[in-house]
Symmetry: C2
Subunit: 544 residues, 2 copies
């Protein structure tokens, strides 16, 4: 066999090959537009030179404390400037960013810290008590650095750890930060909610983060100096990679500690926001705000929504209020959005109900995702494009995770047959757009947060009066969905809704506590399996 | 040494790793927007489904004729739909696209065909005589496929080879085209003009083409369904990768056989063109067109220019006519533009002359280029950012070529010290923007002082009587070298050597004033580049 002549004497060299990493986007933004405002947070304005220098200080301070390649650094932070700095400074030290959902309970946080072998935690003052509770349960003893945010004015938590600003001050703003040795090196770990068994640590790499960050800008038509409002929590899948996307187009981040209507409307009107992301709950919040809170917008704002299809009425209201809503879909395992409801201009001429139906579909592959399909998981064959035949949604390509941390069994299972198995069930329409129909795991999505029904059931099962528990989603006006618990009591035991609600409050994060408890016989199949679809119908009726 | 835990059991698999290739952009565009118009050429309209199917047919037909990985397929074509198909169909067969400049002479084309070991040539009917002349000189005997373009209405060349449409018809529109085995695989070869010695074959790979294609869209803020007019020849560095960029944003190509004012203005007005590229000569063509040819534009059109800094007057005229001009810079070795004059909004408030001065600078690195600097080639140290100290412009990163084909010596020399040596001399301004001052071989060294021929030419261009100026070194008994200026006068203008000498004395340091002024037609290459080596010979004789 003759060797391909185009492979002779044409090897990779330092001149023509570098690992892809989103960290280089910030270096470029700071060198070309040092004075451009990178971060807005309340009255605070920080330009790209400062953002980059502070990120390098963070990397340097971490390195001085012995943090390096392969170490995990955790962040328990709301959408503050410190959280943005963590997205650059932590990987610039060679370490891996572990963002923790601030709404989790102490036990799960302890599990994550242990599993990720966390060496250091950067925590916002508000969540210091939560972290302290987690640390009493954890085996690891990470160093703790507390970030105090001037926009958080509840002084109940005086500094009890090393101060973040002092930590940064000890670092070198000219630090020669570490490029990844390979673009396949890990940049972050994010734990999934763990519907079955323990949470799984999804490892992302620099290559995928680089590609999805650019894919976001291209998909959302973000042009130079776009302004992004942080309604999406950055602890969700690295804010879907938007902390890195904004450096691609040298844009401005508008931070937000809390998702409330008034600061959102003010940021939209006063800061020139062009793009934001969020679950439908954020749209409801915007639309249902009192008239004196809502503001007139002088531009169409791009709103990207995921988690649940946007309802027709909400879409109409959003359009009226000056937003263009795009529906995205993805998982932590795909770096966030890897599917987009790529809109056809001609669809805008259809009746609103038809438009909402089309917009409810999850859509087509993101540019940096090479493969998206709905397959029969047994045969690994594509389902027909009939909009009816159910299969499992599967992904393949460069924005699929590196794998699950310290869990080769789960990784192997997830990648069986050369595709990432999402666990989501869907169909393919004749035009190739996919639509989710159900979740093979019974996830409840409340205010954009995934709630595992199994976790809630397990908490209920621990109460002595509970014989059988089954939890399903019940529609909820504000949160989209809320857990509804069906309970069969054990013989000679008594408990009422109030008792179980209190029990759950002690054992679960508040948002996971069922909104309703139903005491009744639970329907089963002949083989004894609980018929959750029957319960879901009942919950639907109860909510109605 | 403990192994990095993030590298254990987290290997590449088919589920999470695919070679980056711009070919996948077309597959996506065709699957999501099959009916969107991909190509406009005169009255012809072809949608993405057709564009993709025809590209697959081409790949299939090539495969049927034994073309595969590592083979070279040449294209001698103007900016027609066939040329766009070659950018996808040829690499889809596993082969390497070799685009030939249609303005070259037969001997150089013969050299390229031999050096690239071309297996097959796709040629436009207009250039069949040129190819035939080249083939009489070449050692290789590639198969010839002739593409006849209905927009070319000179019937002097009846089909004398295999017909392109018949060739395509023999291919399978559902052909299972070849992904690259590795993203480092070659996608194209482009020969540099070779002002010194033989032309060199610049090999590009799929990874770089993918990244630059996306970089173009991000840098030029191209949004979904942008419309691109083909004033830039596609045989120049693969049309700077725009054949692939347009599939990223599912845009429309407007083809153009010839760069003439009327069809350009018509396309701008009638086809909704949003972006085009070209040398300053294209701007002059647009601006100097008669009033009845110029059309009113209902949008700002983005014009990207390279090759020479756009003069102030031209910039003002272009702005007046509805264009926004951006200055780019790059080489065939960097896939085309790798440097952009990234404009700061605040600069638009400066006086026009100052704006032109700022816009004349080449600028900063493109997003997918990791490193750009001006270095002393002896010490490989950065020059100070003083806007004065001359050094060699160097590049490093993923959009630097794979290397020169069958020329390991030249490749090694070009990549010495871990940087690609451009051969261009430049300075770095305090804000980090680079500016070219000369080709290293065009520098004039007089009494130990470096004189930039460009600087002297710019001074001459500011004189109203000067239409074209070219300055080269002339041997000088005392100073070693002195500048010698060749000048073409503008129509109905007069000036003599004394006038221009006085003019230069007012605008240049005394040692930079040319020792001799020659009024004559200036020799150019087929691509319109001034042939300085011819002028240098003339200057030598004049001094002799």
């Amino acid at each position: 066999m003759v060797q391909n002549p185009y492979n002779i004497d044409l090897d990779r060299t330092p001149a023509n090959y570098q690992p892809l990493t989103p960290l280089s986007f910030l270096e470029r933004a700071a060198s070309v537009f040092p004075q451009h405002i990178a971060i807005v947070h309340g009255a605070l304005r920080r330009n790209y030179a400062e953002f980059y220098a502070r990120s390098r200080r963070l990397a340097s301070a971490l390195a001085q404390h012995g943090i390096g390649r392969g170490d995990t650094v955790s962040a328990l932070l709301p959408n503050t400037p410190a959280m943005l700095e963590c997205h650059y400074g932590i990987p610039m030290s060679g370490a891996v960013l572990h963002s923790i959902n601030t709404r989790l309970d102490a036990a799960i946080i302890a599990f994550q810290l242990d599993h990720a072998m966390s060496k250091l935690v950067i925590v916002d003052g508000e969540f210091m008590p939560l972290l302290q509770a987690a640390l009493t349960l954890a085996k690891v003893t990470p160093r703790v650095i507390q970030s105090d945010d001037p926009e958080f004015d509840d002084p109940r938590n005086p500094v009890v750890a090393n101060d973040y600003e002092a930590f940064l001050a000890s670092g070198d703003p000219e630090f020669d930060w570490l490029m990844p040795e390979d673009e396949w090196d890990a940049i972050s770990i994010n734990y999934t909610s763990g519907t079955t068994g323990d949470p799984k640590g999804v490892v992302s790499h620099h290559r995928g983060a680089y590609l999805l960050a650019q894919g976001n800008a291209l998909t959302t038509s973000m042009s130079k100096h776009a302004v992004y409002l942080w309604t999406l929590p950055m602890f969700h899948c690295n804010g879907w990679c938007f902390p890195w996307t904004m450096s691609v187009i040298v844009g401005t981040h508008v931070c937000l500690r809390q998702v409330r209507a008034e600061p959102i409307w003010n940021a939209l009107a006063d800061e020139g926001v062009t793009h934001l992301c969020g679950a439908p709950i954020v749209m409801s919040l915007l639309i249902s705000a009192p008239d004196d809170v809502q503001r007139a917008l002088d531009r169409t704002v791009q709103f990207f929504t995921a988690a649940a299809p946007p309802p027709e009425k909400l879409l109409a209201d959003m359009q009226q209020a000056g937003f263009n809503v795009t529906h995205l879909y993805g998982l932590t395992e795909t770096y966030g959005p890897a599917v987009v409801n790529d809109w056809h201009k001609s669809w805008s001429d259809l009746p609103p109900a038809r438009q909402a139906t089309l917009k409810a579909r999850q859509g087509v592959r993101y540019l940096p995702l090479e493969g998206l399909d709905v397959l029969d998981p047994d045969t690994m064959r594509s389902v027909p494009r009939d909009g009816v035949t159910l299969g499992e949604v599967m992904f393949r390509g460069n924005v699929v995770m590196k794998g699950y941390f310290r869990n080769p069994e789960a990784t192997k299972k997830a990648f069986a047959g050369g595709w990432f198995h999402s666990g989501d069930l869907g169909v393919v329409h004749p035009d190739g757009y996919i639509q989710l129909k159900d979740r093979s795991k019974d996830i409840i999505i409340s205010g954009g947060e995934n709630i595992s029904s199994i976790e809630v059931e397990e908490a209920l099962y621990r109460h002595p009066a509970v014989a059988v528990a089954a939890v399903v989603a019940m529609p909820h006006e504000k949160w989209g969905e809320t857990p509804c618990a069906f309970v069969e009591l054990a013989p000679r035991q008594a408990a009422d809704a109030e008792t179980l609600r209190n029990w759950c409050r002690q054992h679960l994060a508040p948002y996971k506590v069922p909104g309703r408890f139903v005491f009744a016989a639970i329907p089963r199949t002949s083989t004894g399996k609980i018929q959750k679809f029957v319960l879901r119908e009942q919950a639907q009726d109860l909510a109605g």
